[in-house]
Amino acid sequence: MADKELDARGLNCPLPILRTKKMLNELTGGQTLRIIATDPGAVKDFQAFAKQTGNDLLESGEANGEYTFVIKKKA
């Protein structure tokens, strides 16, 4: 169970990433954020976001046209 959840369904680039960044600011290191999105571009973008910001992308999955990501904020 993630500490927080972000519903980014219906949003397009770059909004899912920007909202994620904003929400991560409200978390403390080690806490997790679960994101649900519908933008297919988000799959690559969340990998790139995690790699460049040093936050861990714990999960990345797709079901019924919805993409789910879990990011763990870096300590």
Binding site: N12, C13, P14, L15, I17, L18, K21, D39, F49, T53
Partner: protein, 169 residues
């Protein structure tokens, strides 16, 4: 080099379509931890006006699809290939094209320019307006949003010279 990565952008275009790249890239870079500046010059000054009135013109722009943002799927798929000569003669053609583009943007969950601009400001993207073109076009500082800096080319290079990425848009 130490500290965060840096992105320097020069925004020179003042239409609705060309407003997107600088604000999308700057806000995303800021979210990735970049220190970011946008230098607005010539028509790019329109992007930092208090009252945004950005339009898009399909005239002389063969790369721009003209599609309807409403109706059944087959209707939305039609590309309305209207000759330049007709576009230029019909009054309000640009206003119509702009309205259709704004509706398409809304339908697709794409952010609006005021929204992206606010996100840039929240993320401390530094916005600099070119004083020379402000004077050239007869604008005054009160035409522009608060928090802008007014400067010239030398100021741009101070930051751009140390940047990791520099884009001319």
């Amino acid at each position: 080099m130490s500290g965060p990565k840096k992105l320097a952008i020069i925004a020179t275009k003042g239409t609705l379509d060309w407003a997107y790249p600088p604000f999308i890239l700057a806000s995303t870079a800021a979210a990735l931890g970049y220190e970011t500046q946008i230098f607005f010059t010539f028509y790019g000054l329109q992007l930092v006006k208090k009252n945004l009135d950005l339009k898009v013109s399909p005239l002389g722009n063969p790369g721009m699809p003209m599609k309807m943002p409403f109706g059944p799927k087959w209707f939305k798929g039609i590309n309305w290939n209207i000759p330049n000569a007709v576009q230029s003669l019909v009054p309000g053609y640009e206003t119509l094209a702009t309205a259709l583009m704004k509706q398409t943007i809304k339908n697709n969950g794409v952010a609006t320019i005021p929204e992206l601009r606010d996100l840039c400001r929240e993320a401390d993207v530094k916005l600099i307006a070119c004083q020379m073109t402000v004077d050239l076009f007869g604008f005054s500082h009160s035409d522009f949003i608060d928090g802008l800096e007014y400067a010239g080319a030398a100021t741009f290079f101070e930051f751009a010279g140390e940047s990791d990425i520099c884009l001319y848009i």
